[in-house]
């Protein structure tokens, strides 16, 4: 198993109601599989997850990426700084 930490920001954090989530996931899990798991476990995140940005260890990441050991994942909407 792979212990990861997920951070939530902005709208998706508000939806989730929490800033972080620690999770044990199978080795070799992809970003897409993680999003599917979250949508399954937390149905009210389902909509937010459709257009979510994902970072893994502070780099943008994509559906077919495999999540490395002890990854820090973040889920957030398109950025709006400035």
């Amino acid at each position: 198993m792979n212990k990861i930490r997920i951070l939530f920001f902005a709208t998706i954090r508000d939806k989730f109601g929490r800033k972080t989530l620690e999770l044990d996931i199978p080795n070799e899990m992809t970003v897409l599989q993680l999003k599917q798991k979250l949508a399954n476990d937390y149905p009210n995140l389902k909509d937010s997850l459709k257009a979510v940005l994902v970072s893994v260890n502070q780099e943008y990441s994509f559906d077919d990426f495999i999540i490395p050991a002890n990854a820090e994942i973040a889920l957030f909407p398109p950025v709006s700084g400035g």
Partner: protein, 152 residues
């Protein structure tokens, strides 16, 4: 010679004088600076009033992405000497500067204006910062519309 690159996410006031000084070398003759402020009144697109904005950031990633923006600027405009990229976060009221991009070079005709423009455009694409707008009719997250590609 090492060229200074400053990037920071801060809750403090943005001090243009101090930042400019930090990116001015003895070979520097020109600086272009962009700052963005909270608008109290917006008339374009969806006209509305704003009481304040509440900014948040995924700070370590934001710092890494600011560094990336600075690297991209240096790759595109080799004449650039110093670069400062600062985002203020927290609760920010109308007329308050919220963001600054400043670049310096020996002369004004080798890309400082273009580089500052590029810097703010890229910040709004890839640096993980979000703002929530609080107005007379409630609050609303402002979302961007850019989806970074692999390697961005």
């Amino acid at each position: 010679m090492t060229f200074p690159t400053i990037f920071s996410i801060t809750e403090s006031e943005i001090d243009l004088n101090a930042l400019l000084e930090k990116i001015t070398l003895t070979s520097t003759g020109a600086a272009a600076i962009f700052t963005g402020m909270v608008r109290g009144v917006t008339t374009r697109d969806d006209p509305h009033e704003t009481e304040y904005l509440e900014y948040e950031s995924y700070i370590p990633m934001a710092e890494a992405k600011m560094k990336q923006v600075a690297d991209e600027i240096r790759e595109k405009w080799s004449s650039i000497e110093g670069i400062a990229i600062v985002q203020r976060i927290g609760k920010l009221y109308p007329k308050t500067p919220t963001v600054l991009i400043a670049v310096t070079a020996a002369h004004r005709d080798t890309g400082v204006f273009e580089a500052a423009r590029y810097g703010i455009d890229r910040l709004k694409e890839i640096v993980p910062i979000w703002k929530k707008e609080i107005g007379p009719n409630g609050e609303e997250w402002i979302e961007g519309d850019y989806f970074p590609k692999a390697g961005e």
